[in-house]
């Protein structure tokens, strides 16, 4: 009976329940720093089931990540890698990201302390024990990003770059390697998500919009936000335009990204690996 309200589904950032957090904190649920179920094969099995129901929507089956959440099989975890860190991340969420507090998503039903530890046991069981950096030369990647590949014209890293596309400083820790590669090679396949409003079910996507005003001017850009009656866009010159839909001659959207496809002619496999190396280096800082 997951419904979306009481009973609802899928609001990754449904209003967080302050009272719940308060109560959980007061009852000292964090007191423990080590997993009572560490290396317990039964807990790993139960934890996998919990993971599928509560976490896989963003982190993917097998914890390998997706377009929404990081690949948890990586040994490196941005928000702390001890068992205690993982517990806090799962229970409290990460403010400012799509990672919600335990029990506030409608995806899954909230986990008990025991169940969280079981999920951690499962994550440990699929984690790579050692890994080589997934990318190539970060230094060359940086040059490509801010030079020949032209990424910087639309994307910002550490305050430098354009604004038309998503800010990418933390992208490598927030998404799986596969989804980043896909976004470069085939950006329209899964549009990037942007603005998140805290009681809305879905974040805004980088949809391409074309607007013709009553006086005949045409604007093309990405949606920063949209509702049934208005749209806020950034045009390709990176200017913001705000429109009421009923005052336009025409308004159309496509799911064809404004970002060009970087195929192998535009970006060789080596270039791609180097870019990835740069993104990983930046996000690890």
């Amino acid at each position: 009976m997951r419904a979306g309200s009481a009973d609802g589904l899928r609001g990754r950032l449904r209003g967080a329940c302050a009272l719940a957090l308060l109560l959980l904190c007061c009852f000292g649920i964090h007191a423990q720093e080590t997993n009572p179920f560490a290396n317990d094969p039964k807990a790993v099995t139960v934890g996998e089931s919990q993971f599928r129901a509560n976490c896989a929507f963003c982190h993917g089956l097998g914890a390998r990540g997706g377009g929404r959440g990081p690949d948890l099989t990586r040994a490196q975890k941005r928000h702390g890698k001890t068992d205690g860190d993982l517990f806090r991340t799962i229970n409290d969420g990460i403010p400012g990201t799509a990672m919600p507090q335990n029990g506030t998503t409608s995806q899954g039903v909230g986990m008990t302390t025991e169940e969280i530890w079981q999920v951690i046991a499962y994550i440990r069981s699929v984690e790579k024990k050692s890994e080589s950096a997934p990318g190539g030369s970060a230094a060359r990647g940086e040059k490509l990003f801010h030079g020949a590949a032209g990424c910087y014209t639309c994307h910002m890293i550490n305050g430098k770059g354009g604004r038309l596309g998503p800010e990418l400083t933390n992208v490598a820790s927030a998404r799986s390697t596969e989804s980043i590669l896909e976004s470069i090679r085939d950006p329209s396949r899964r549009l990037a998500t942007g603005l998140i409003e805290n009681t809305k079910e879905f974040p805004q996507e980088y949809v391409t919009v074309t607007v013709v005003t009553l006086d005949g001017r045409t604007f093309k850009g990405v949606t920063l936000n949209e509702d049934n009656f208005s749209v806020q866009i950034m045009d390709t010159q990176q200017e913001i335009h705000l429109f009421e839909k009923d005052k336009l001659k025409s308004f159309s959207k496509t799911r064809e990204s404004l970002m060009p496809r970087y195929d192998e002619k535009a970006l060789s496999e080596q270039d791609l690996r180097d870019l990835l190396g740069y993104l990983f280096e930046v996000s690890a800082k």
Partner: protein, 521 residues
């Protein structure tokens, strides 16, 4: 009914709300006496001061802030100038309906370890006599003095630690308060309860999964009935002619797993006809047999008279609109009102039958509608003027996967996992007007993203609904044309209602963490 006539019925502030007043709620359209506005579940207001000609001038009159986070799902009640509402975290309040100023506020303190699948929500009060009644997150039913908010009685329906809770607005019938339990994610056994409104004493209980020796018990494998969910978690309706409650039930647990619960799993996903005095089951209609997609049938069953027939209209989460003869429980019509892929045949009774290849697997299978359904618990409306049924619909498909697990009391037991369809199609929603006699769509208004808002129709020729981007919208009930909208700054997870005080009509809706109330200038 015009407001002038309506105002003749306005009584003194804080008058007694008798069963007869609720039965005859159409005679006092200035008040909103029960969750859906009337016992028929129509959510139709006979007020017409705000109408298609002047709604463009509608403006906010007052806003009440609950101070609570999470989804605000209440439908307030209004009786003789006082508005009664519930909010997140079992907050409750009574307000001056003209100004929004509180008369009393009461928060029920519940234990920290309540088990809620989908938020610490509540959908509203019932009122009867001089008391208001609400269900709590730890599965208590509480009666408050309507004048002060003081607790008159408080009874535990069941042990919440096993995963039980109340989220629905109770229904007041005769001298009883009727409630349905929530908790289908936790291996519970669903039930509908009736309590004596004066004392809190339980009068009857109907379990939605039959025990040994009861009809329907054979539709559950082994002991699966004990933890079969089927929670009746949304408010039912009352038929005064037959003294029956029509109540709908949720999905069988675990939601996506066939294993261990082979069979039709009665009375999951049913429309139940219960004797109001005894709770005895007179008949049932099962919308989805052996559901494997979390498609609760907990949508409001709306009583309607069409072509001289006594019917129940029901837009189901599984994507079909059903028309049922409420004198017999026989199906009259079933027709999709949204995209469905799970069925391509019907049984002898005309009920859609699930395709074999729609069953979830460990790897996952794409099925439409998705787990949130083609609609959900949000209230539809039946407009007595246009004779149309309006419902918030959702267009989304999901990958349905299983997550095998062993039931442990009080722990999540859903056996399911959902993912967005891999082709990453955009999801969207729509407000749809359906001719209930044919199931045909008369018009639709598309939402840019799925909405969780209910719908209100009024004698002013209007339909009101909200969206997930925070808009409150008035549309022409006949054409679907948008006539007015207002940005409230928070997503809508509630249904609108209308009332009047001193000859002035108000329309109310909860959005974000606040209750918004609108009038003409």
């Amino acid at each position: 009914m015009t407001l002038m006539a309506a105002s003749l019925f306005a009584g003194p502030a804080l008058a007694q709300v008798t069963f007869e007043r609720i039965l005859n709620s159409s005679k006092e359209p200035q008040n909103w006496l029960t969750y859906s506005g009337d016992y028929e579940g129509r959510r139709f207001s006979a007020l017409d001061q705000i109408n298609s000609g002047n709604v463009k001038n509608l403006a906010p009159r007052w806003v009440y802030q609950t101070g609570a986070l999470g989804k605000f799902e209440t439908t307030p009640l209004v009786v003789d100038g006082v508005l009664y509402g519930t909010a997140q975290d079992n907050r409750t309040f009574a307000l001056d309906a003209r100004t929004g100023r509180p008369i009393w506020q009461y928060q029920y303190i519940y234990p920290s370890d309540v088990r809620m699948c989908c938020g610490r929500v509540n959908r509203g009060f019932a009122i009867l006599g001089d008391k208001v009644f609400f269900g709590t997150l730890d599965a208590h039913l509480v009666a408050l003095d309507a004048k002060t908010g003081s607790v008159v009685w408080d009874v535990a329906a069941v042990d919440y630690r096993k995963g039980y809770s109340f989220t629905l607005a109770p229904l007041a019938v005769k001298n009883m308060i009727v409630v349905g339990i929530s908790g289908g994610e936790y291996g519970i056994r669903g039930f509908v309860d009736a309590y004596n409104a004066s004392t809190g004493e339980r009068k009857w209980r109907f379990y939605t999964t039959p025990g040994p020796g009861e009809p329907g018990h054979e539709t559950w494998a082994g002991d699966s009935w004990k933890i079969g969910g089927s929670a009746p978690w949304i408010t039912g309706v009352y038929d005064k002619e037959t003294n029956q409650l029509f109540w709908t039930t949720g999905n069988p647990a675990p939601s996506n797993r066939r294993a261990q619960r082979e069979g039709d799993n009665l009375y999951s996903n049913c429309l139940l006809a219960l004797d109001a005095d005894t709770g005895k089951l007179n008949w049932h209609f099962q919308y989805t047999k052996h559901d494997e997609h979390d498609w609760d049938s907990t949508q409001i069953p709306v009583m309607m008279e069409l072509d001289g027939r006594k019917l129940v209209g029901h837009a189901n989460r599984n994507g079909y609109f059903y028309l049922i003869d409420r004198t017999s429980g026989k199906l009259v019509l079933s027709k999709p009102f949204a995209t469905t892929t799970w069925s391509d045949t019907k049984d002898a009774e005309g009920r859609p039958v699930a395709r074999g290849d729609s069953s979830p697997t460990l790897e996952g299978r794409k099925v439409c509608p998705g787990a949130a359904g083609s609609t959900n618990w949000m209230s539809p409306t039946f407009d007595l003027q246009t004779r149309l049924f309006y419902v918030t619909a959702r267009e989304q498909c999901d990958i349905f996967s299983t997550a095998p697990e062993v039931n442990e009391e009080g722990h999540a037991y859903y056996g399911s996992a959902y993912f967005p369809a891999s082709d990453a199609e955009p999801y969207w929603g729509a407000l749809r007007a359906i001719d209930p006699l044919t199931g045909e769509r008369k018009w639709e208004f598309n939402h840019v993203s799925p909405s969780w808002s209910g719908v209100l129709s009024t004698a002013g020729g209007l339909v009101f609904s909200g969206d997930s981007e925070g808009n409150f919208i008035a549309l022409d009930a006949t054409t679907g044309k948008v006539l007015w909208h207002f940005q409230m700054g928070g997503a809508v997870y509630a249904a609108p209602m209308a009332y009047a005080v001193d000859g002035k009509e108000y329309v109310a809706i909860a959005a974000g963490s606040a209750l918004f109330v609108f009038t003409l200038p």
